[in-house]
């Protein structure tokens, strides 16, 4: 239903567009305002009609430049020379799009005329992962034809705040201008994403590489509003060309997330969001040295981590903020840093030198002991049992009632059970509960509750997974199994 509505909206939207930009009445003088940039770097504003072909655009440009109508010029968009018969409506032009107009010099050798050079990039580039065979098959219907156009998606931070169709553009790596004609065609995402894979000829007079080959730089823009900033593409998001059902909800979504596992599992965008949020709540994201804080394909395939973490922007601002915080915390801890133990601070601190005194410099200013995470003190961590000292790392510690009673940093005159409650530190009910009911994982110190079953504990933290013994609080061994497996 949603897909149908979307289609209706699409249709309605394009009709409105057609009406607005001159398709409806030829009498209208206004049209689609585009910028024409010449090889001299001059910018002209020209109004063109969606029904025009490039020949008509050329005439309009020449008229505005005051040049004779027969002057040979080329129009360049996104690395392609547009053939005279290409219609404006078939290029992904929007208000404010920049076209390059280059005068053809008579001594300039003609470039290879293999046809593809004359089609706009969005037409010759069907989705980049489609295999060669499928690319060359003729599309059966206009709808199929439309779906075979290249579709790219970006997350637009502002003003859209949403997943949006993207436009692929190209500029010259030397002069950063778009007056470049591609010499080769990108055949896969890597050609587009990795710099210096495709070359082109820059036509701009001011470009140092003019007339010779230079590298082409591809970039993406949000297609939903004019003059958008460069935005990295969400390359896992694709048009669902083959109507593959989502692995989770089994619906055929549009667009979809295609994971990079060998099977290329497909999930709809909504299920991807649910998947990320569920994993985030369980802190099951993985910190990868190259890709960052990320997730694999939901099926759990090997080598399927999401490499561009910008995809996680899809979970919404609130959850993305949590994602960033969790990721940072994970990074700090894995780099041997600590988190400031002050409530409501939690600043991540990576120490330059191996010193026990840590000051939360850019945060709350609290100075604390790296080992016990209590306020900084001179000398040994105070008379806590050895285990307790290390447990304290998360200011959550518990080694059973006896250890709590044995604490000597309790300076209040209370004995036994009361001493536990009479502590100012961690006096709130939840941390008290955590202290009394949990033991820390011996490896990562995550407070762990044992709600039943045997003494063999497996740490649930994603990066840890340590097997330990509830009684010994060390690694699980055969001896534990023999002597106190079940208590």
């Amino acid at each position: 239903m949603a897909a149908w509505l979307l289609r209706v909206w699409h249709w309605w939207g394009s009709w409105l567009y057609w009406l607005m930009w001159g398709g409806g009445s030829t009498a209208r003088t206004s049209g689609l305002p585009v910028t024409i940039r010449t090889e001299q770097g001059q910018n002209l504003s020209v109004h063109i009609q969606l029904t025009w072909d490039m020949r008509q655009v050329q005439s309009a440009v020449l008229a505005q430049l005051g040049l004779p109508a027969a002057t040979p010029i080329r129009l360049i968009l996104a690395g392609r020379r547009l053939a005279p018969e290409v219609r404006v409506g078939d290029c992904d032009l929007g208000a404010g799009t920049t076209l390059h107009a280059i005068r053809v010099l008579t001594h300039c050798p003609e470039q290879a005329d293999d046809g593809t050079q004359h089609r706009p990039l969005n037409q010759s580039l069907v989705d980049l992962e489609i295999s060669g065979g499928a690319r060359t098959q003729p599309a059966s219907s206009p709808e199929a034809q439309a779906r075979r156009l290249a579709h790219f998606y970006v997350y637009c931070d502002a003003p859209c705040h949403a997943l949006q169709p993207g436009k692929l553009r190209v500029r010259c790596a030397s002069c950063q201008d778009g007056g470049i004609v591609l010499a080769g065609e990108p055949t896969g995402w890597s050609d587009v994403l990795v710099p210096d894979r495709i070359q082109g000829t820059c036509n701009l007079a001011a470009c140092p590489t003019r007339g010779t080959l230079s590298w082409a730089r591809f970039y993406f823009k949000c297609a939903s509003h004019p003059a958008s900033e460069d935005t990295p593409p969400l390359y896992l998001i694709r048009s669902n060309l083959y109507d593959v059902p989502c692995l989770a909800c089994l619906d055929v979504g549009q667009p979809v997330v295609v994971f990079e596992c060998p099977e290329k599992h497909v999930s709809c965008v909504e299920c991807f969001q649910n998947y990320c949020r569920t994993r985030l709540n369980e802190r099951q994201f993985q910190l990868h040295p190259d890709h960052g804080y990320t997730l694999p394909c939901p099926v759990g395939c090997a080598d399927s981590l999401v490499r561009e973490t910008r995809h996680f922007k899809l979970i919404g601002d609130h959850d993305y903020e949590r994602y960033q915080r969790f990721g940072t915390e994970e990074f700090v801890l894995q780099s041997g840093g600590v988190l400031c133990p002050r409530p409501d601070c939690g600043m991540g601190i990576i120490m330059d030198e191996p010193c026990r005194r840590v000051v939360c410099e850019n945060g709350c200013g609290f100075a604390f002991c790296r080992d016990c995470l209590q306020g900084y003190h001179i000398g040994e961590c105070e008379a806590q049992t050895e285990t307790e000292c290390s447990n304290a790392a998360q200011s959550l510690m518990a080694v059973g009632e006896n250890a709590v009673r044995a604490r000597s940093d309790v300076r209040l005159m209370a004995v036994g059970e009361n001493a536990v409650r009479a502590r100012w530190v961690n006096a709130d009910p939840s941390s008290l509960a955590i202290q009394l009911t949990t033991k820390p994982c011996p490896k990562c110190r995550t407070p762990t509750e044992r709600s039943g079953g045997c003494m063999h504990m497996v740490c649930t933290k994603a990066a840890c997974g340590f097997h330990w013994c509830w009684i010994c609080q060390t690694e699980w061994t055969r001896d534990c199994m023999a002597s106190h497996w079940f208590g």
Binding site: M1, A2, W4, L247, A248, C249, L250, D251, H265, S267, E270, C271, N274, Y275, T278, R279, P298, V299, G300, S451, G452, G453, C454, H456, M457, V458, T460, W485, F486, G487
Partner: protein, 182 residues
Amino acid sequence: MNDHPRLTAVFARLSFGRTSGKKPARKATDNPKWEKRLQKELMAIMKDPPDGITVSQDTLEGSDLSQICVNMTGPSGTLYEGEAFMLRFKFGPKYPFDSPEVVFTGENIPVHPHIYSNGHICLSILTEDWSPAMSVQSVCLSIASMLSSCKEKKRPPDNSFYVKTCHKNPKKTRWWYHDEDV
């Protein structure tokens, strides 16, 4: 099978997307996403039931999909041939990203080294090896295969201790999978 009231309701709900809104009163989007997925799974089981597995009558007649029961007959040629069992699945709103809670229920709990007498099943796909690509059907088939490969009917060694101390939700148990061959 189509004349069954519950299934007809399922069919009716699912077909809204295609009948272009003649009955706009109830939309398919009224159902949470997990429920829609579950309906599809159940329809698939009804249409093409796997050997020895049927969705229970109560589930088909009830309106609550968060808990369903599946009848299973012991696979022929195995120690459980001819026995009838019932599996209870509980689903949360995070399904299928979160695994369902699956236990044997009813009078006959299979005697098996990985099945506790309270119905809890020690099977890795029900907890850490779960993936959203699995389904009610694939869980049933895994359990059937677990039964089929059993060579001796006995309870797990720690059965009496576990049954006394465990949480009532088996997903709260961190299972330790000692072997894969039973």
